[in-house]
Subunit: 216 residues, 2 copies
Amino acid sequence: MVMNRKCILRLSRYKNALKRLKALGFVKVFSGNLADAAGVTSSQVRKDFSLFGITGNRRGGYKVDELVLRIREILGKNEIHKVVIIGIGNIGNALLRYKGFETGGIRIVAGFDIDPSRYQPERPVPILPLDEFRSYVESNEIKIGILAVPDVAAHHVSEIMIAAGIKGILNFAPIQLRGADDVVISNINLEVELENLIYFVNVADKSVPALVTEDD
Amino acid sequence: MVMNRKCILRLSRYKNALKRLKALGFVKVFSGNLADAAGVTSSQVRKDFSLFGITGNRRGGYKVDELVLRIREILGKNEIHKVVIIGIGNIGNALLRYKGFETGGIRIVAGFDIDPSRYQPERPVPILPLDEFRSYVESNEIKIGILAVPDVAAHHVSEIMIAAGIKGILNFAPIQLRGADDVVISNINLEVELENLIYFVNVADKSVPALVTEDD
DNA sequence: TAGATTGTTAATCGATTAACAATC
DNA sequence: TAGATTGTTAATCGATTAACAATC
């Protein structure tokens, strides 16, 4: 019963790999096929599946459609999860307009800001005053929020979010947020990501044998 | 000599923690102080440091200023690394205008797109035709690029980047890029991050004892 | 010196991989 | 059935933590 972040990340990857395999005409797959497509080992695939109680057919592998459905179910992609954004600056605005989500699962429903010049209450995805955040979140039962305010405001705003009942925060502010025990926080830090790239590019540059390609 | 992505990630975190400690008036720190500030164990701190040949003073700990300088040096933050962006849509444009970088290390110097309506060659950070990408990258010796084009174009554009000599790619397209052996690729997938949050929020919701707060 | 902290080695922990019996 | 693949247990690998001798 050990399913950590990495494990769920792989589940997302399997789902995407299966989509590609299906497009290629696969109706059923063996753990080896999926492993190749997702860039892991077949043991890993079977281990992950057994962790989630996903079973296949000995000798017959897994039916693609069933598998996709089961994974989507585990990831909660068969319901709709409403997501709000706080901080409609460059990044927040870009995310508000982002069209890249695969069908199902995620819908960005509103943005919030303290700057009145940014309010746009009439848009299909409205931009509302931060003051209205709590009542909106409560009456719409929002559980997930994206935090995209400047770093100085980040900690304060995260407290507002948690107080309003938000249980999952995707944080774009360059600040290490630490939340309450029942709140999940993922941090995306652009600068840290670039620092990483720079480091490994430099290493590869200096000492020749350094082929790195990573994720998570 | 095992320094992986996680290790470098922690180095960035130490640097940020040290900045906070310095603001609090610390002149020197013990591994325990830094560990607390960065949310790791003191063993981890000392192990990481020994990996990079960072030494302190037995009994006296580490001098904050020296330590910051040394870490910045390892992360390459004492030189300037020029970064380009390909794909000036919502996300690309936001990143082009992003002001959140700490001083030093990273400078976004140009954007590229195929859409002529987006060209802005006269701006301080110009937006140029994709056709000019290769010559720009070669003559300016750019090594790092951010990829922010729609998914259908991502693979093709990544090949253009690599052909031009880019060695590190920060990929925002929801596609698992796999590069050449001497090219480092980091993928940031907004949907996958949200899927993760949704999963753990749901788990926490159903079975009470699930306090998760993660990064990397 | 006595005491506290580093630097490093050994122990532990967890995650990945390999192996193989069960079985379709 | 014979052969191939799953599901799961055992072995391996790597990363984190604990412990402790060196030493300031």
